[in-house]
């Protein structure tokens, strides 16, 4: 928020158009940079830091070394490929600007609400009645004034809005972000307090408390609608990342099922179990980070089916639970 509250800005990681995965219909998903958790399976490690970051894509590099002299703080070196000294790099982007091959790119650019709005509206024609815009992260609620202002602007144009959140933020941030959201995609990842902290670095209690907050926002939106029929109604989906050796446990899924049953008040419309994949391993390499799941295999479809079954056995509505994502074919 550099320009004050009238036109808040946010650090935007990426805008993905024609997304089929972040809510109903065709959507444009905007990923904001900066996250309050650091999940060990994170698919978008570049979204965790709240600062711009430079990445180097080796197979594009020509080896011309133009970047070395472009860097004002000498953060780059070239031995076997380009190394970014992250302690020096300010994310200014001079190297990326200079690189003729787009081998250096900056993750994160600042956009105002108006700039973001203009970009997101480009696909208005494809949203139809159920598609729209999803704000994801990182953790979008950390930039709550931007989220609220952008959603307000989009809602005025009749665009469906969805917020993807893990709930690890202040209650005020959460409520501000949800105010103009038509759909909340809420992450429940782990039902054991200790494991939750170990896997994500955050508190389960906070996440569950905020789940209740969201449920109550959804409930009141529906009550309001009975009085003011033109009021928009909020919907709630839950998403659970299913990670081999971590969250892919029967007891975890059943634990989350119980959280949904106990606190969801029947207001959750969909619960999606998202199967792990390791396609993001290159991102870790480009960030110069090691990743413990680099070699982890895809889950077999049968295991995903079994977890859905476990959820149903714990009382979840069978029509509610789905799984998505890539799986391994056991025969291979």
């Amino acid at each position: 928020m550099e320009k004050g509250s009238t036109d808040p800005s946010a650090l935007v990681l990426e805008i993905m158009r024609m997304s089929t995965e972040d809510g109903p219909g065709l959507r444009t998903t905007m990923f904001l940079k900066g996250c309050s958790l650091s999940c060990r399976w994170c698919q978008n490690p570049e979204s965790i830091s709240a600062k711009p970051e430079v990445r180097w894509i080796g197979n594009r590099c020509l080896g011309c070394r133009e970047c070395l002299s472009a860097c004002p703080v000498s953060a780059l070196s070239c031995e076997e490929g380009i190394t970014v000294r992250r302690n020096l790099c300010t994310g200014c982007g001079s190297c990326a600007e200079e690189c003729p091959a787009s081998a250096l790119e900056v993750w994160g650019r600042r956009m105002t609400v108006e700039e973001a709005f203009k970009e997101l509206m480009k696909d208005r024609a494809y949203f139809g009645t159920d598609g729209g815009v999803t704000l994801s992260g990182g953790e979008a609620t950390l930039q709550a004034p931007f989220v609220k202002a952008l959603f307000t602007r989009l809602a005025k144009e009749g665009v469906h809005t969805a917020l993807d959140t893990c709930g690890a933020c202040s209650t005020e941030q959460l409520e501000t972000s949800c105010e103009q959201a038509d759909l909340i995609l809420y992450d429940l990842k782990e039902s054991d307090e200790d494991l939750h902290r170990r896997y994500t670095g955050g508190s389960l209690k906070l996440v569950v408390d905020h789940f209740k907050t969201v449920v109550s926002l959804v409930r009141s939106s529906r009550l309001h609608r009975q009085v003011w029929p033109d009021q928009r109604e909020k919907r709630l989906w839950v998403r659970t990342p299913v990670i081999p050796g971590m969250t892919a446990r029967r007891d975890n899924i059943q634990g989350i099922a119980r959280i949904i049953l106990e606190h969801g008040e029947g207001l959750v419309d969909r619960w999606e179990l998202c199967a792990f994949n390791n396609l993001c391993r290159d991102k870790y390499r480009r960030l110069g980070k090691a990743w413990e799941l680099e070699e982890a295999d895809l889950l077999p479809a049968e295991e995903m089916d079994a977890l859905v079954q476990a959820a149903v056995e714990a009382g979840a509505d069978a029509d509610l639970v789905h799984w998505s994502g890539m799986t391994r074919n056991i025969k291979e």
Binding site: G25, C64, P100, K122, M304, S324, M326
Partner: protein
């Protein structure tokens, strides 16, 4: 890896629900050269020593054939069967001679066969018939083609220098078939006779009389051909021991007694009449189905379908008739069957449209639309006829469901999608620009249809000569950089001789002296005007030759305006007279201009002189600059308003310039964008371009962004295309839609199969199509390709004989296209999101 509910590997689509009859007919068709008879081109001569059968003019737009012209001309002459001529033959006008000759061959020389089980008659039509020229005419014609500045030489030079290709080819129109189905040729003959009788004696003895007499002779051809097939049907019925088949043959004979002489009453009569009428056009033009299209077939066949259904025809019985029609349409491919499957270079495209907008914005989907969709689904994969489904903003949901289901169950859309609002905007703009509002106006524009692949025209009165002129817009950039000369002189690959570099176009100034991009742009404008003048001028010479020596009187009976004006269609007879200049290499051109601006003027990464040097050296030694051009310069196709603004400027410049030219036959030139396969082959001719493309790499296809440039996804790609055509706004050509290209523009997009095959995603793909109707172009080919299948097909072509791919809205058997194009198709399996 697999996806939920998705098979492990994509399986090839197979025909379904085929009766024994259809299975036999289909298998028989795919036997190819092993069939006892086929529809290969054979030739017939008047027997004069100067006679000519193979008309190379029709093939000037097919550069692959240039090297074979001499062979074709002499081999068809050698094998030609002599037709005995009647007394007084040479006293008739050329038009009458030609009409008589074609009729004689079709009725009395080409054998008439009916296949076992077939419900439709009409087998052979591929022929090269004598031009019927006198010695003096033949000599005069040959002087036009083979002199020092002859058309053949000029056409080949035009192509060799990277301008494109040009020539008056056949087909590419929609005859007034509906009128024949309704009233038959008896009505045509009556009309022609009345017009002839009404002529003043002087005109009767002169040109108008000769044209009408020729048309009268020609209009007898299909009626007499039907008579021959009737005799054959009766002969076979007499020999038939199976009672059911005997009855079928007798019924066929009965049908052939009535049509196409008189109007059809039943669905079977209508389909049979349509086939015979259509088949005779291919005979008349000596050209098999090149873009000879059927139009809005589910509209004009509907009354016959309804009549037959109400009289007890079983729905499947009706489909069976259509499926036989399908097999017949494919026999056009027999043309050069011994040379092999022609794949993408084949000049066919018997297109039909389904659904679409009707009067008052009404959707025209009807029960027959569904029948056709089922037949397509059950017959595919098969090449002909080619379906094109017309969509619009209010297309019914169940139609979209079916379309998406068919796309997902096949290797891609088994049809092209045409988008009505944008297409109709182009037709109305044409009406206004050319002053033909009497024939195209808001109350009839919904009657438009597509020919060939996607080229929009009116129906039954319009030969817009689509694909006759194919212009590489990029040549103008090269001429700016060379100050009126080619950048790299042409070297003949056969002789190895390099031409001297000579001035080809106006000098637009030494590029070194350009101080700004505006200077560059002004030079580009001059060169663009030059290449348009050049292609239209060369076309007109071919047009004049065709008009003088190659009439098609039978086709003229099927196009409104010809009888009225007593002019052959080749003389400008139709009510609507246009020739389309198809702009090729659009995105490569736009991206090249963007790169010049970015590299030279905005960022001074190099001087224009250095850039020219880089291009002359095919980027060798300029790799960093090339990388900047490729990766950093803005590109069309990303929904980037600044880049797309230049695209619009390029479009407006060339599209508006084209309208300034008219042929000697009164045909106004109009713009369109269809690249056929030229964007592949001409990439080996045009030198390196400023967008970073080296020589020998493909150019951009039709209105598509350059390969790999559309990094912002399919919606951004579609939005850019819509903007380039003119976008939407106040004062639109149709509603608020603008469209600078009345012909339309080919747009191909490849999607990862998981996008559409995943359960729940079909609604999302429908949303994409609805959005495309709002923001996109005129025509979309959706490819859904699995790279693994294609790679395997490259290795084991024998196992994938039926694997169809679609490029430029043009279907081809994958294993029959060249390796480069195969690789290109594989590389295009883009828009993958995991």
């Amino acid at each position: 890896m697999n996806h939920q509910d998705e098979g492990k590997t994509a399986t090839l689509k197979k025909p379904t629900n085929l009766s024994d009859r259809l299975r036999r007919l289909r298998d028989y068709y795919f036997k190819g050269v092993d069939r006892p008879w086929n529809n290969q081109h054979i030739s017939f001569t008047t027997g004069t020593p100067w006679d000519m059968q193979y008309n190379e003019l029709s093939y000037y737009i097919v550069p692959e054939t240039y090297a074979f012209f001499q062979t074709f001309c002499s081999s068809f002459a050698q094998i030609a069967e002599t037709v005995s001529l009647p007394q007084g033959f040479w006293d008739m006008s050329l038009h009458e001679r030609r009409a008589w000759f074609n009729r004689e061959v079709m009725v009395n020389y080409l054998p008439q066969e009916i296949l076992p089980g077939d419900l439709i008659a009409g087998g052979r039509f591929n022929m090269h018939t004598s031009a019927c020229l006198t010695e003096a005419e033949q000599k005069a014609r040959n002087r036009r083609l083979y002199g020092k500045k002859g058309l053949r030489k000029e056409t080949i030079a035009f192509h060799n220098h990277g301008y494109g290709n040009v020539g008056p080819t056949s087909g590419h129109l929609i005859p007034d078939y509906a009128a024949i189905l309704e009233k038959g040729f008896s009505a045509v003959l009556k009309d022609l006779q009345a017009r002839y009788d009404a002529l003043p004696p002087k005109e009767k003895a002169g040109r108008p009389g000769s044209r009408l007499r020729a048309m009268i002779i020609a209009a007898l051809m299909p009626v007499e051909v039907a008579g021959r097939y009737r005799e054959e049907a009766l002969r076979l019925a007499g020999e038939e021991s199976d009672g059911k088949r005997k009855a079928e043959l007798e019924n066929l004979a009965e049908i052939l007694t009535r049509i196409p002489e008189f109007g059809a009453r039943t669905f079977h009569e209508a389909v049979q009449s349509l086939w015979l009428t259509h088949m005779c056009v291919m005979a008349d033009e000596n050209y098999p189905g090149a873009g000879l299209s059927f139009g809005n077939i589910d509209r004009y066949l509907l009354p016959y379908w309804e009549a037959s259904i109400s009289e007890g025809m079983d729905r499947e019985e009706g489909k069976e008739i259509l499926k036989c029609f399908w097999i017949h349409a494919n026999t056009a491919y027999d043309s050069m069957i011994q040379v092999g499957n022609q794949g993408i270079t084949a000049g066919f495209g018997q297109l039909f449209n389904l659904s679409g907008l009707g009067p008052g914005g009404k959707d025209m989907t009807n029960q027959l639309t569904w029948v056709f969709l089922e037949v397509i689904d059950e017959m595919s994969p098969i090449l002909e006829p080619k379906p094109n489904v017309r969509l619009h903003r209010n297309s019914p949901d169940d139609l979209l469901d079916k379309v998406v289901e068919m796309i997902s169950s096949s290797q891609g859309a088994p049809f092209l999608l045409n988008f009505d609002e944008r297409s109709m905007a182009g037709m109305l703009r044409e009406a206004k620009t050319a002053g033909v509002e009497a024939f195209i106006h808001p109350d009839n524009v919904h009657d438009y249809a597509s020919v060939g692949c996607l080229e929009n025209t009116m129906v039954g009165n319009d030969r817009s000569g689509t694909v006759d002129c194919n212009l590489n817009l990029l040549k103008a950039v090269e001429l700016v950089l060379g100050n009126g000369k080619s950048l790299v002189p042409f070297t003949d690959t056969i002789t190895g001789i390099t031409e001297k570099s000579t001035r080809e176009s106006p000098a637009t100034g030494d590029p070194k002296a350009f101080r700004s991009f505006e200077d560059f742009w002004r030079a580009y404008e001059v060169q663009t005007r030059f290449i348009i003048r050049k292609i239209t001028g060369l076309y007109d010479r071919g047009e004049e030759t065709r008009k003088t020596y190659h009439p098609t009187p039978y086709l003229s009976t099927l196009v409104r305006g010809c009888a009225e004006k007593a002019l052959d269609i080749t003389e400008g007879g139709p009510e609507l007279n246009f020739v389309t200049v198809e702009g090729v290499t659009f995105a490569t051109t736009v991206d090249s201009l963007l790169a010049v601006k970015y590299l030279v003027y905005d960022n001074a990464f190099c001087t224009l002189e250095e850039l020219i040097d880089a291009l002359k050296n095919n980027w060798q030694g300029y790799e960093t600059l090339q990388a900047r051009a490729k990766n950093k310069a803005p590109k069309y196709g990303r929904d980037d308003d600044t880049a797309d603004a230049l695209a619009s400027k390029v479009m407006a410049l060339w599209a508006e310039e084209v309208w300034n030219y008219t042929t000697c036959t009164g045909r106004r030139f109009r713009p369109g964008m269809l690249s056929w396969n030229y964007w592949v082959s001409d990439g080996f001719i045009l030198p390196a371009s400023p967008d970073g493309r080296p020589k020998d790499q493909f150019l951009s296809n039709a209105i598509c962004p350059s390969n790999g440039a559309d990094t912002a996804g399919p919606t951004a790609n579609a939005n850019s295309v819509g903007k380039a055509l003119g976008g939407r706004g106040v004062g639109g050509d149709y509603l608020d839609y603008f469209n600078l290209l009345p012909n339309g523009a080919s747009h191909t997009m490849s999607f990862n199969p998981s996008l559409i095959k995943k359960p729940g995603n079909r609604e999302k793909f429908k949303a994409f199509l609805r959005g495309y109707a709002e923001n996109g172009g005129t025509a979309l080919q959706v490819n859904m390709l699995d790279p693994e299948v294609l790679k395997d097909a490259q290795q084991h072509p024998a196992d994938y004989r039926h694997l169809l791919v679609r490029v430029t809205g043009y279907n081809a058997y994958f294993t029959a296209i060249g390796k480069e194009l195969q690789d290109e198709v594989i590389a295009r399996i883009s828009h993958e999101k995991v």
